[in-house]
Point group: C2
Chain length 449, copies 2
């Protein structure tokens, strides 16, 4: 099935779809359009670049357009904005930003991988200099410049999600006094409140000033540069403000061409990535996916989902019949000395989804207690009270303990229950764990009721 | 279902069965007989005691008989040898070793949890002083005394299995010159030869003298104390010799009472642990279990299997209907800086079992390559060529990477195939992994063929 494949968006989903399609069917002529200067870089690696663990931003980039052309035979055009899809003529109108010149590209199949956009709080002052988000490589470069210029003494982070926590961690480690403002009653709503408490304690232990249930009202500045954040009765001096108040799927291009959006706000596509427009696929964070536990459509925020979806779309472009099963939103994150990981539904999400759900939280150690260096490991499992089926898992430990969440991800994917989890044959040796794995101990606790 | 429960063997399987039964049905009168001085200790923790990471051997003990009586209401009698089962009269003849006095104990239900016995090579000199095995706490105490007495300058370890590798590692770290003699072409037959090569290189890198395909012929000594090991043309001076040439199920008591032994040599019992004698259960390493992949009976060497089987037997004693699904022989072990883990079948085991099996081995990194400190992770998956079903997994990495094997254990238990593994939603963040998990990269490689 040869032909012209046009991919809009040169990161996780788009690049994976392009690479997979071309590898499976080298006769395809694959072109990638990218709005920014860069393709194929690790968005998750940005904080590591910002805080200097990664020397050069180039180190985050797997493929430059030149390398992509040479090694994979894929054309990538950067600084190109796709402005309109003409589905009847199978053409895309685009503008080369550096030349401000419009042109049209035709396609046999089109892949929308336009990702997400950061939300901005709808308050006065968000346009001030020194107010940043972190969602693209350019943002990382700008933030690193701010840090290098010394504007990281007093920092206010707005929003305690994945990015907000990473920023708080990194800036604090660099000596900044960070104030974290979170509008909800807990940070990191990817885990339940009882687990979030452990994260909040860790933040405070490391000198972060944390305000929960606090909504930013206004950013104030002088000469166009931010100086203060006003939130209720609190007024916090700030040399730098980082916003992490949410992301939304970037659907404008697709929607205006007539692609339906789902209840999640993302572009509707079936499990193969096919939209309602003939020959047009959507993949990654702009596309709706399905929650593996509830079966319902959702907007996934993760790069892993994007890459897995991109792979499926790439396979379909090459003529295979490939379907994306859905997401558990499995994730892992470092917050100072803690490693926080989660998969499936939180208890709150499970109850909202209509499950008669319950959670079991246990605190154990990450290795045999008689060995020095054994450290606490907090594990929570969520399950359905009547069917005993597993619905989700959460883990907070130290170091690399978090990758243990993958066991829960596999168990959830297989539809296992408490009993199945308790009987898994898991690895044990004193330096690496305990005779019963903490997830199994949680299952035992859950079965006792 | 009240009554007298007698458990023979006071470690992983026996103690778990006793504890679980008593907890579920407090009306049971549970008595545990133990041949040695100690109950309820961590056999896996022995090396850590021998090499001083654990100060006192008492630290390895979860329950003394006194604590067990007080906290759990279970009677434990140590230094008691059960010499005969009288199944018709539901009595066990036993001898109190310290008093050399025989008595009889009656039971309503009996649990055999007599564990395993170390094999000794059938060669001259194994009875010499300074020739040790390590399978009970007493062995650990004796070995630590030898080490303290300085007889750990020149050590010969015979057999490169789990215990042999642990001993080699620990003694080398303490400054001994260790020679490891392995009769097979590879150490650690729990993994395939290609993975074992990585272990062998690590041994040599740490100064261990390794001889493969080398069979011990004779141990020689003076004044009853070992001095030399003769193996083919090699003659090695030795202050201490450690034997790890295999273990076998300790079945004598059960077999002489008429319990059938299976092809594996272990006591036959059904999934509930019930033997062919009414009211008599077998659990742990003396009892046969089933391999989860082949479905065939086997002898498991692991404490995790013993504990899980003990739990099932305890539940059945308390009137629940509980069944043990079988084992994957999932294990994890430290060898110097490597963490070695495995689950399911090796390629060799799979071929022997009649599968049209193939392996895919990939070398990757344990975290994003652009971060400093990223380290190699070698992963092998075994699968059936026609059905694409997973049959096993192996992993060699550093630090705690080995617990990632649990993901494979869950996938194997669920009967997943290559495609299922490739599509699992696993956790990713740069400090903890790579966008595609190494097991998924191995699945991709396997699917490419």
């Amino acid at each position: 099935m040869s032909g012209k494949v046009l991919v809009i968006g040169g990161n996780a989903a788009g690049m994976t779809a392009a690479g997979r399609a071309k590898r499976l069917d080298p006769s395809l002529q694959v072109t990638v359009l990218e709005l920014s200067h860069f393709i194929s870089y690790s968005i998750c690696g940005l904080p590591h670049y910002v805080f200097g663990e990664v020397e050069r931003h180039e180190d985050l980039i797997a493929f430059t357009p030149e390398k992509l052309k040479r090694e994979r035979g894929i054309e990538a055009l950067v600084r190109v904005m796709a402005t309109e899809i003409l589905p009847g003529r199978r053409r895309v109108v685009c503008r080369r930003l550096d030349e401000n010149r419009e042109s049209e590209l035709d396609y046999d199949r089109l892949v929308l991988a336009t990702g997400y956009l950061p939300e901005a709080p709808n308050v006065e002052g968000v346009e001030l200099e020194g107010v940043l988000t972190l969602s693209r490589l350019e943002d990382g470069i700008r933030l690193r410049q701010e840090v290098a210029a010394g504007s990281n003494r007093r920092v206010v982070v707005v929003g305690g999600g994945y990015v907000g926590l990473m920023m708080t961690h990194g800036l604090t480690k660099q000596g900044a006094q960070v104030t974290l403002l979170e509008r909800n009653r807990q940070v990191y709503s990817e885990v339940d409140e009882d687990m979030a408490r452990l994260i909040e304690r860790e933040l405070e232990r490391n000198g972060v000033r944390l305000f929960l249930s606090t909504r930013v009202e206004r950013l104030m500045g002088t000469d166009g540069r931010v100086q203060r954040v006003v939130a209720g009765e609190v007024e916090i001096p700030a040399d730098l403000v980082l916003l992490d108040v949410g992301i939304r799927p970037n659907t404008k291009l697709g929607a205006s061409a007539g692609i339906a959006c789902g209840t999640s706000g993302a572009l509707q596509a079936d499990a193969r990535g096919q939209t309602n427009l003939a020959g047009v696929y959507a993949a990654g964070n702009c596309a709706e996916t399905r929650n593996l536990i509830t079966g319902r459509p959702m907007f996934s925020k993760l790069g892993t989902t994007a890459a897995r979806q991109g792979r499926v779309v790439g396979e379909n472009l090459a003529g295979l019949r490939s379907a994306f099963p859905g997401t558990l939103e499995t994730s892992i994150e470092r917050v100072f000395n803690l490693c926080v990981a989660r998969t499936g539904l939180t208890l709150r999400q499970a109850l909202t989804a209509g499950f008669d759900a319950k959670g079991a939280l246990i605190s154990h150690t990450d290795r045999a207690g008689y060995l020095s260096g054994s450290r606490p490991l907090h594990v929570k499992i969520i399950f359905d009270k009547s069917s005993k089926k597993l619905l989700g898992g959460q883990l907070i430990g130290e170091d690399a303990a978090g990758k243990r969440i993958d066991t829960m991800a596999a168990a959830l994917t297989a539809g296992m229950g408490l009993e199945d989890l308790a009987r898994l044959d898991l690895a044990y040796a004193p330096p690496y764990g305990t005779l019963w794995d903490p997830f199994q101990i949680a299952a035992h606790a859950a079965m006792r009721g």
